[in-house]
């Protein structure tokens, strides 16, 4: 009885403190959020500045006469291309989504035996995979370009997709999360007669959903932003980013505004993907009741 009272009192204190605490939290978040949102704000502002304001130096942080002219100009430029814009958009979405899905599924599958099986050479294999995390990408670019061309993949969607599948980061993250799953969960399924295929897709995969979606977000953003223009030269197969670069590069100064507008539009899909998936990313794991005796 006494304990109960003590506990209630304590809860009361907690509640009172949490009000001040909440205020502090929100204040902190606002300040830090301002720092993080600044580049987005800046680009947005730049994209709606009329040209004479756009070229002011030093750049101003607010806009005097907001205008949508850069956006209309961009859409005009886009509709005048001999390849319709929707085609670029389709290419980008197709490549990003397929590339991401393949990576997430295959990296997860590879991570499972690395995390929960024992086989000779496992540590060595994992060490080699970690090399992939550390090595600077710029220098392997030329040899991998040669490989892509030898495989006759140049100028196809696969040139975008395949190099992104065997990326180490996703596997590394997935392994880290799968390792934290209780072994008893897997053992239980094994005793119930599930084969490894079933164990992975019905037990492991659903239980590391937050990790899977985190990897999905990373990979989507990576592919979306990282599609390089060297791999595909057929206009029909190019992606939005490359098309936008071509437009703004053809006349860097006159089209700076539309370039800015384009960057704003390019940021939308990754942000949408993130907002849609983040709720699941932070879902609490469901094996809370499981305990090894």
């Amino acid at each position: 009885m006494i304990k109960m009272k003590k506990r209630k009192k304590k809860l009361g204190i907690d509640n009172r403190r949490s009000k001040i605490g909440n205020g502090l939290v929100i204040f902190l978040l606002l300040v830090l959020g301002a720092f993080m949102a600044f580049p987005l704000y800046y680009t947005l502002i730049q994209s709606i500045k009329p040209s004479e304001e756009l070229f002011q130096f030093p750049p101003r942080l607010y806009v005097l006469r907001p205008t949508g002219e850069h956006y209309t100009e961009l859409f005009q430029l886009m509709s005048n291309l001999w390849v319709p814009f929707s085609r670029y958009l389709f290419n980008t979405l197709f490549v990003s989504i397929l590339g991401t899905l393949l990576h997430v599924i295959l990296a997860g599958m590879a991570a499972y035996p690395l995390a929960k099986h024992n086989f000779p050479g496992k540590d060595a294999l994992f060490a080699i995979i970690l090399l992939g995390l550390m090595f600077v990408g710029q220098v392997t670019f030329l040899p991998s370009f040669i490989i892509i061309s030898k495989l006759k993949l140049l100028n196809t969607y696969w040139a975008y997709i395949l190099p992104n599948i065997g990326v180490s980061l996703g596997l590394f993250l997935m392994k880290q999360f799968i390792e934290q799953l209780p072994d008893s969960l897997i053992e239980a399924a094994r005793i119930d007669g599930a084969n490894e295929w079933k164990i992975y897709f019905q037990i492991v995969f659903p239980n590391v959903k937050p990790a899977t979606l985190t990897v999905f977000i990373f990979q989507f953003v990576n592919i979306w932003n990282g599609l390089s223009k060297e791999l595909v030269y057929d206009e029909q197969l190019k992606v939005v980013k490359v098309a936008l670069e071509q437009i703004s590069a053809s006349n860097a100064y006159a089209r700076m505004g539309s370039g800015m507008a384009g960057s704003v539009l390019l940021m939308i899909p990754p942000i949408v993907v993130f907002i849609l998936l983040q709720r699941h990313v932070v879902e609490t794991m469901t094996f809370a009741g499981l305990k090894e005796g």
Partner: protein, 295 residues
Amino acid sequence: MFKKLPYHTKKKIYGFLFITPWLVGFLLFFAVPFVQSCVYGFQDLKTTVSGMEGTWVGLSNFSYALFRDTQFIIQCAGSLRDLITVPLILVYSLCFALLLKKEYPGRTLMRAIAFLPVIIGSGVLMDIMKTDVFSTSMNSSETTYLFSASGLTGFFESMGLSAGLIGFINNVISKIFDLTWRSGVQILLFLAGLHNIPSYVYEAADIEGANALEQFFKITLPMLTPMILLNAVYSVIDIFSDYGNAIIQMIYNTAFTNVRFGYASALSILYFLMVAVVLVVLYLAMKRFIVHAED
């Protein structure tokens, strides 16, 4: 499929099948190019009409980088100095993740904002931002343009602050800015890690009467140690492979502007070895603090 085989053999076969598809991609687009560029490091490459032609030059690329190229060692030391930010990033992103875990209105929006640097940092926008707003690269310790020359300095001067104080404020602000920029992925990873801690642990601690601080140091922090290691490794790699990094620029220019591909490969191998040493030291130092949850 393999019903007749003993259980352990089946498990091995499945394991092998699971790893293979990913591994093929890895070998083809990382391992082979990696080995190839290692070979380039020992060669003097020339582009001819028929393609690349290499002549074997032994270790001369490496010895040139280490003993005669005055820039390389200096730049390496410079990028080692940048490692100071790693603990800052870890503390900052952990705090931010803890804030984001709480329930409050607008949480989704806040999380999206926290992730913005990741989206922007790797995109086209970064190039525009670099030439426009940041007179120096994101990586350098100098203040960014916006916060030095015209942005806030003028404002502070009009308030009658001394030059030293203004410099200090600018420095702090640009450091915070740099920190927020480098922490997007880490925040998300910590967030996922925090949600990975089963809630019954906290419930038990609550019943035992542990306060919030005790819960943080005795549950949250130990349970997060694998994630802290992961984030430390990620941050180190991120700093070393940042495109604005002077050494990456140097390697890139050597390869594509000066077309000395053999030498660029040698440089990147040396640089890579340095990163590997840093990571091994980091791993060994942190290893004993890692807590593996006993389920």
